[in-house]
Subunit: 447 residues, 2 copies
């Protein structure tokens, strides 16, 4: 199964936007065994788009197009496709109605320019867009002698809209048509070790030419392993992929914090919600709760915890105590402690975590204070220094009800995390979640 990826947009050919769609699409197409013949990019010109479509349909079994189906005059992909198909554009009433409802719900009148988004070439099928007004197009091309066909898919250029549409309504078609050889992928995520250390531990498992192959990628401090098993039989590929995943797990152990679509926050959310451990009999709670007290991460940890639908089950509140005065007034961190040890110190995060747990009456509290930079570093506390504390139930405590939160056991830790301000803040929040994760696993932090 041969595929060509075509991206449309002046912002792409002018270099104002880096095309990330093509790489993403390639990964997913290769994952179902497609051979990607080429990426092509042309600007918002109807003739150029027509030429690119015309040349591509004869060379591949699937042509995957993104971009150029917005509501404005420079969106010309649908017109170009209709031109190549020699078919008129026809109104799709269902999508027009859907768009009208969408605007009505937003208390807005639909601008007339949006009408074009309900037009598709005769003979083509509309693809529903669950995230916006740009519906996709699904069309089948046949060569003159009817011997070869090319399945053309047009999707929006906005990555999130494109990804949703591709996963739901494009990939299944291609996967089905590609039949034969299967590539089965598994992704495992790790946090806390560098890419080269992870690679070193995996050793022979990462050897080139091995099937299944194991590769690493890094994003936002998370080192992920991508396992690709290739076999004529999908069942066999599945079994091989699982076997290699188990081997990686055997080598890396708890360093692996999730798989597939899981993220550190979703893993923590699941652990808190499903925790079947000791719960105070007086309360009716069937899950554990967490509160946050943040300085350098400025709300990022709370944001990550509440990214997840239903997070109110385990997250009730958080403090962003950015200034020293806020640390004192909100969380009672003694000003003398700040003066003696500094705002970025284990005594300060200990006090923050302790107060946050007591005030929020939560099972756990995480506190973070660090030097995110680019300024503010000193010789003893350079940029990248971060102190994190986890407060939890006092061991051996017999307190009941709200009294359980008055005293806490607190574990403070200091880390030196690499990266610029954005990366350092993200790693700090992830490290805090990792401390909680190991605590919930009942194991010491392995680094």
């Amino acid at each position: 199964m041969k595929a060509i990826i075509l991206s449309i947009g002046d912002e792409l050919v002018l270099g104002q936007t880096v095309d990330t769609n093509s790489a993403w699409l390639s990964q997913h197409l290769a994952g179902v065994g497609c051979d990607i013949v080429a990426h092509m990019t042309v600007g918002d010109e109807q003739k150029a788009i027509e030429q690119a479509i015309e040349e591509s349909v004869g060379r591949c079994d699937a042509l995957v197009i993104s971009g150029g189906i917005g509501p404005t005059d420079d969106d010309l992909t649908r017109q170009a496709l209709a031109g190549v198909m020699q078919a008129p554009l026809e109104l799709n009433q269902a999508w027009l109605d859907h768009m009208s409802t969408y605007f009505t719900r937003l208390d807005r009148k639909m601008p007339p320019s949006n009408n074009i988004q309900a037009m598709i070439p005769r003979g083509a099928t509309m693809i529903w867009n669950h995230h916006g007004t740009a519906a996709g197009i699904d069309a089948m091309f046949q060569s003159g002698d009817q011997k070869t066909t090319c399945h053309v898919f047009v999707m929006p250029g906005v990555p999130r809209e494109m990804k949703g549409m591709f996963t739901r309504d494009v990939l299944p078609h291609i996967q089905k048509a590609s039949g034969g050889a299967a590539i089965v992928s598994r992704t495992l995520h790790t946090f806390g070790l560098g890419e080269s250390t992870v690679a070193e531990r995996l050793g022979e498992l990462m050897k080139r030419g091995r099937n299944p192959s194991v590769g690493t990628t890094v994003a936002g401090g998370v080192v992920s392993l991508r396992i690709n098993a290739r076999s004529a039989s999908p069942t066999e590929a599945e079994a091989q992929a699982d076997e290699t995943a188990a081997a990686c797990q055997g080598v890396l152990g708890d360093i692996i914090c999730g798989s597939g679509e899981e993220t550190l926050p979703t893993v923590i959310a699941k652990m808190l919600r499903e925790h079947a451990g000791e719960v105070d009999p007086a309360s009716k709670k069937t899950h554990l709760t967490i509160a946050t007290a943040e300085s350098c991460t400025g709300g990022l940890l709370a944001k990550l915890l509440t990214d997840i639908p239903g997070s109110s089950a385990y997250f009730t509140q958080g403090w962003v105590t950015y200034s020293n005065r806020a640390k004192y007034e909100r969380l009672g961190v003694n000003e003398e402690v700040i003066n003696v040890y500094g705002a970025v110190s284990e005594p300060v995060v200990e006090a923050m975590a302790r107060s946050a747990r007591r005030l929020a009456k939560s099972d756990f509290a995480l506190a973070i204070s660090g030097v995110a930079g680019p300024d503010g570093g000193t010789e003893t506390k350079p940029v990248g220094t971060v102190c994190i504390a986890l407060a939890s139930k006092k061991s051996g405590s017999t307190a009941r009800g709200d009294d359980r939160y008055i005293e806490s056991d607190v574990i403070p830790r200091t880390f030196h995390l690499p990266g610029d301000r954005e990366m350092m803040r993200l790693r700090s929040a992830f490290m805090a979640l990792t401390m909680l994760r190991f605590h919930l696993l009942g194991r010491p932090l392995p680094f």
Copy 2:
């Protein structure tokens, strides 16, 4: 002057690496007036590379190739170019000597595989690589009838090596041949109106074929205008770009919230830091401060404000009061108000903003409570409903010192924002910043 950019590499067509070279090259080629016809990417296959070169040379005046000139067996660009030129590969003794010296200096023996890097097609010129062993190739193609020529440049795929070679030995040739035409770009950002509404207001300014051209792109709820001015004279292009930017500003007014690298948070940061308005004479503050009280955004607003280095100048603290109890215990929001109006209501965000300003002793406080979904929507408050309140100094108040924060003027607003949970939360935070922005501008919110 028409240009095509061709990238070579399996890692690109497999999606393992995002192609950033093409965007970089496009920017620089457009900067000297080139019209970029297309980007193309093919894998490490000689036939595919030959076909791509063959098709491109007839369509452009300059073909800029990167990748596939390393020392390994899967580097096939030089062989493909020689194939299309129907010219044998010949040894360039100067480059072979240079490579030998390079390896000797590293105390290493040059592997025999590197020999191929000194081979170029007969009739072509070698381009010196100051950062590695992959020399470039400069070749001239003539059409059969000798009427059109295409200048082909082959460079390494490694961005650092490519950029050095391009700037030094490729761009000057193209600039000279293009006769000095220049493209100058400007970017303006808007928030609050949909893409189609922005386009409608811009009207004729977005007409195709206009110079300077005006196009729109959307990312994270922000609709950006890209203005490209093309002229033989760079100074004239600058003037035309500025004139069109002013015309867009004239039509859209305060809807434009920033330009170039600016974001809504950096604009707010600048306004708060540089605000030269009325400041209490008792305090030494030369800037304004903001506090946050968040429910549905769960810390995102505080995170956006503290993304910026030096944010402690204007941001001191924030609350994430996710549960109703937290709204009551931390910010004193009357439980009866929550019961009567609901947690997502103007009275609730009013109370949150008022308390946050009083407790934080900040000039402003922003409070957000909404239905982020996917669950929790009702008929009267569907997913996407968000209430935002801005608390500021009580007008006419003569209070001094900390007493200034006891009473506030509060503006509450309700919005219906589109998108999934992630997008709705981002738009809510941006809308809160937009309310503050218009308040600082001294103008009513225009939507």
